[in-house]
Symmetry: D2
Subunit: 478 residues, 4 copies
């Protein structure tokens, strides 16, 4: 089978959401919030709710509106809910790995939803297994919840904070007990998490774009190393770790987040638009038209056009109905997958010097197919601009990254990449240019490790294991 | 239940496709073709195939990749296939109304797929019923097939042509017998239909955007009043009607067709881009930024920006994962549906004079919500440009149009509409401007009836019946 | 794939039901009635309802409770319903062939459900096709409805009767118009159809076993050649044909009907019990125990035990959860299918002279496997008694019969059959014995054609076609 | 909704199976085995397999052939498999509670399937939670697997035995590691578990009726307190507990097990047949006919007929297609549910003195409806015989038993029960009679606690909790 929806992009693994309200429908709020966070994960969705005494979780494979096609979770007096969307993967135990994870422990019932990736989860898990623990899933969240359950601290806030001190890596968590909604963001602030509020409700959300549909206003971002606890007394804040070095994921601005989200004070759209402007300055590329690889390259392309004065025009059209298709590989024609996703507009590019903007190049295969498609459509020349530096190093903090040898920039120079994809010219945004693009946020508080190999968190020794999101599944496999 | 995917747009009803090849996989070609035509209909999909002796059809509710999730239709020696996608409607007999329709008649088996709407189907059907015919569906296609079966002509080509002479209205048909693939386009050429070819295959398709994925090259459009028959001897062309007045649907260029399609020699993207340029000239609107209502307003918006020199920027972001959602109306907050679909980028519009481009206004409700959303985001002023004239009259030729009283332009002046939607200024493209935009095609060969009440085909006497796509279902209902 | 639910029995094709009531829930009555008639068909189920103005049908593949798992058909003022269950077959157009069939014709809407098989349907259909008719299904019902629609008679009763005069073969029909419930039984009375009534409702049903669950009492059987019409004025009876020779299907008593049904005055259980008693007399078999092949052989076995004084004991246990299973043939072990369905009770048969009673032998394969299973379980001897005569001739009246060469009794003598199945002795009930068993009904009013080749209705000339229930599907196939 | 499949019977909770073979398809063997054990549980089914390095489990809601409709679990070199079927319940976390349960622990992967009920699971679980453990399901199996994981013993056999020593109650387990298939039966032998073998395969199965379809021969029952370990060296046996008092569940013989199974040397059918014979002696009832409540009363009824000389005849017919139906309670007519399941044969009981045999009476409601049905059918008198003593006490060992106040025999005398159900006479088999019926097994080695309140295992102090199979789910509920 061939999944023609398979992207050539890196993938975020998850989005999390939480709602607390004694008067609003927290289940519906969470549903709408997950809907707005759907771009962060399309594999599975889940919502856990509580009425203070009982707790229940509904999870399933598919988009939010597929999982909850027939009905939303409901209890008569529900007042807290958390939700989760997860990026599409393949694997043996798909359903078992959906979130939120709900368990019984000595303190009652607790549910967790997690976005990110722990770099020492494997080690903690091995230690726990050696002490007699069993694990039923292959997700980091199960490590978290076991740490919480093992904490001797009497209060749940302290249990959670004690547990967070033991873990390393990237995480944003929403946690629900029978009477509290808890959020936490790792000390480096790798992943985003923000707080929303109305007169009657509190919300936690991976991105601010989900606040308005949930009927609340943006309050602030959760700080790196901060734990927020929402209960009948309102919101309390705890600092569970010193922030040595903030290291927010720069790829949220480049590709992951929705353009209408604001993360740590920086509007995502504005950052992307500025990347395009700086690309225009850095590259100095001239041409007849600026086109984008839709949709992710469009914002930067409009910025490039703005800066350069070269008109932005649609040169490639995206099929809006692409989903999983199941065509036998033998039936597949060359380049069919990319042709199903994108169509070139001949009249827009024919006999033109085309500047094409995309957000990133991972393996280079798709870029090559698109360049070929434009050439077949008659483009005179194709200059490609990429609104991120070359990706030469894998990510250990929650992105479904290739192992290093699959990253084209790990083994090829820019000119070799240009040749590989068949463009007439190729320019990657410089790290400095990238930093300028996000000046609203503090551009020094970002993680650029995938570009410059400077990882803010100690890595697992065994590179192959650390880079492998299926580490728990594959450990025993021959 | 509220369907937040429900659009404020007019809807095309169908897309048709056909493939003939002794060496290629015609079932796969048709599947890929329907995939590329998915924008023409998302309610149901179907593929009929034949191996020369046996014929079979598979149909189902949903998108192409949902209906054929597990397997494609297959016969060992299949060499002809036709397919159909249909726009989402509601109704009592959904599955029964899916296409292609396959029947047995004296000449063997025959399958048909139809795009369009007959204006005298109701009358023919009544006459046939009076002669003792039964009808099992509520689709026009069943009228067609009965006419063909009743024809005394010996050859299938003549049967089809004799039948076509009896019907009025808009239609493009793909027809499959055990050894022929037949295409037909009504004498006014309301709906598009084109021919593709490779060394080993023939294809018929509603739009040219489906040709490349099927592995063939564009040859030409089927002419109005032309019947094409593809069999072992290649393609033969027959003229079954004189073309008094060609009247291709202008809305294919404004909204329906994919921008990368070329219809009757006119690239859809280029027409839309030019509509935007002329809008800029006609309106004379000035402002800080040009934004579009994505996705349908984007091409015209880039044209507006090109002509005016005002930068195009993304001011509204579309949620790419909108599908049907089933939220109780009572749970729905005001404007939630449009908020789920679109998010405003505050920094892009705040304190700016915004020019917003959309392709059409049908009822005006959604436009009003979007204007409100932009104002809440801080826009200083909002001038709206619409790349079509006011729609004051219903369509009888295959568009799922509202009855006239629901069309805002039928009862309100432009200034009243402006006030209703809350914009600071509003300009609709003039009919003349529209004609200039499609100069590549002969702009006099178009149907502008929804704008100017000049219908190229005699209408049914009973307006209520003629406008009602469910005429056969509702006729007996109290 | 191997369907281990596939029976070695002949199969009835259908059950029909109809309900008329202004105060009861006719949709629920029909649902419950079909539930009780489920043994007559497990492939598909459907219910059509009307409120006097609107008519709707819901049909699907599967058992009654699968098709109507989520909800029953419903209209606010529904007062007539008809329903249908169909025997499981395979074929290309399964869903299209489900019943009731609902169509529009000059007189409005009409729905039909049919049990039986027309011997001249193929001929009528060919004639109609030559006159320009199309057919969308491969079921006889579509021929019926076209005849009705073509009738020039003004009243629906007369239309139906005129149509029935043109057809030959076996049929029981329930027909629904917007204001009438109509039942008809063919002039030979091949298939059963009875009338039930309460103070508030009328019912038509294939078998009396469905009356009580529908809340009505048995009134009488519909007579051969009788049309009954139920409307606001109560029930009217019409005779549309002279009954030359009644010829009720004897297999309803042997195997098809539920034992608690009474058909034409004869209780099915009593007939089967008497078959067993007469088998005991005719065979004179002696032994230690009488066992049955459950469930169909059990009634006769208890009769055999009663007559002979030899104790009835369970020697074979049937797995109650057998459904379709999809095991690759290559994975299948010899005799696995029958072992999954039946288990021998070793202690009940070991070292015993066993008399085994079954209702019929069609191909003999399964009987052979069962005999082998008993022998492996240690039976000293196995004498097999069959409560029907050898089946030497196919059925043309609604049974899914093998073509003649597959009928073991068509090519083998009783002793050859005995040898083939490996029994120590074998006795088939004589036709005379069979006639004695059903003395409550007039045993001369039965069809014994499958035993004695004396067909009560003129057969189609082309035997191969006439015997083929898929005649309409296969006609064009190479 | 009304589930008309809901039985008036007690329900077994589970069936377990395991297969080990280097040459046979262990996945298929397990599938076929579960098919034959389907009567032990219809809610869910699951199969876990291993190839020695990897382990995977597939579980789902529904019957075996529904869960594995499309494909069986498969690995190229699979050689061990275990499977499980579970009785239908309702509850909040159905899917999470399906088995086999598969986990990772320090020793690798392990899967378990469990039949029975632990009386101290709740207590162990609370202790573990206090030590920091989390629980994700509400099934006892999760307690087992945590005990195993916590064991300090180096060998898996010893880990399992150490764990088993800590638990009390009823259990039969099949356990799979990457290289061993393990079976265990509790020291009282409450639930059955037997061993089968062929030249190429080993099998463990809840009942012997599943051995033949899996292609192996019965070897012996697993002994109470015995652990059997099957690996490349064949089968090894370990005794992990002294058997103070064997206490096999007598209800396996009365109702649960399939009649063709042999448990601990006693054929189930023979026991039931003998129960009927002794019933005849004890009751001394005379009458015209002996009928059974099918299917569970049939074997005893044939025994009664054998002993008494009164002919056995079918007086009630069971609808073979009863499944879940979803009828609104308001739509339901009185007694409709039992009428859908059973139909009386009027001619068999009319004007007769009827002796009706059933296996047990739990709440008495259904028996009352059946007696009423027979009376309506014209029975002169109805004497009811029950092949078990009155059930006055709940079961704590794996049966889904009512709480005590729902058991009719807990609060009513035999004569009061007779009056409640409306029979003319009523006889329950005595405990002594029951013991005689199973003389092949040692009748003293049985548990009769539900009849005589003599529980072989210490009960939990809190009766309400101990009797509640949903103890883990409900603990926190208000």
């Amino acid at each position: 089978m061939v999944d023609i929806s398979a992207s050539s992009k890196w993938h975020e693994e998850c989005g999390v959401f939480g709602a607390y309200s004694h008067t609003e429908d927290v289940s519906l709020m969470t549903y709408l919030g997950l809907y707005a966070l759907q771009h962060r994960g399309q594999e599975s969705a889940g919502i856990a709710i509580t009425d203070g005494a009982w707790m229940d979780v509904t999870r399933g494979m598919g988009l939010v509106n597929e999982v909850f096609r027939h009905q939303l979770p409901h209890m008569d007096n529900q007042y807290i809910a958390i939700g989760h969307v997860r990026y599409s993967t393949t694997g043996s135990s798909l359903l078992a790995n959906t979130q939120p994870l709900m368990v019984n422990y000595a303190g009652g019932k607790i549910s967790l939803a997690h976005n990110g990736n722990l770099t020492n989860a494997s080690q903690i898990r091995r230690e726990m297994e050696e002490q007699g623990n069993v694990f039923q899933t292959s997700i980091d969240t199960e490590v978290f919840v076991n740490l919480i359950a093992k904490s001797k601290q009497p209060a749940i806030e302290d249990k959670v904070m004690e547990s967070l001190k033991k873990i390393k890596g990237a995480y944003c968590l929403t946690i629900m007990t029978e009477n509290k909604l808890i959020g936490a963001r790792d000390p480096h602030g790798f992943r985003p998490l923000c707080i929303g509020k109305s007169d009657t409700a509190w919300v936690l959300s991976s991105e601010s774009c989900a606040l308005e549909v949930a009927g609340v206003k943006y309050v602030r971002d959760v700080e790196p190393g901060e734990l927020v606890v929402i209960d009948k007394d309102g919101l309390k804040s705890y600092k569970f770790a010193e922030v040595e070095k903030k290291a927010a994921c720069i790829f949220e601005y480049i590709y992951f987040a929705r353009p209408d989200s604001v993360i740590d004070g920086q509007c995502v759209h504005d950052a992307r638009f500025m990347m395009g402007r700086i690309l225009a300055r850095e590259s100095g590329f001239k041409g007849d038209v600026v086109i984008s690889v839709p949709d992710s390259g469009t914002t930067a392309a409009t910025g490039f056009a703005y800066e350069s004065g070269i008109p932005f025009i649609e040169g490639l059209i995206k099929n809006r109905y692409i989903g999983r298709t199941f065509i036998q590989p033998t039936q597949k024609k060359r380049d069919t997958a990319v042709k199903l996703k994108l169509g070139a507009i001949v009249s827009a590019v024919k006999d033109k010097d085309v500047i094409m903007v995309d957000d990133s190049i991972v393996r280079g295969t798709t870029s090559g197919k698109i360049v070929r498609m434009l050439r077949n459509a008659g483009a005179k020349s194709i200059k490609m601009c990429v609104s991120s530096p070359p990706i030469g190093y894998p990510c250990y903090y929650g992105i479904d990254t290739s192992i290093r040898k699959e990253l084209i920039a790990a083994t090829k120079s820019v000119d070799e990449i240009r040749e590989y994809i068949g463009a007439d010219a190729l320019h990657f945004l410089s790290i400095d240019g990238l930093k300028q693009s996000i000046s609203e946020a503090n551009s020094d508080d970002m993680c650029y490790a995938c570009f410059n190999n400077s990882y803010p968190v100690e890595l697992p020794k065994d590179d192959a294991v650390g880079a492998d999101k299926y580490v728990f599944e594959h450990a025993k496999k021959k």
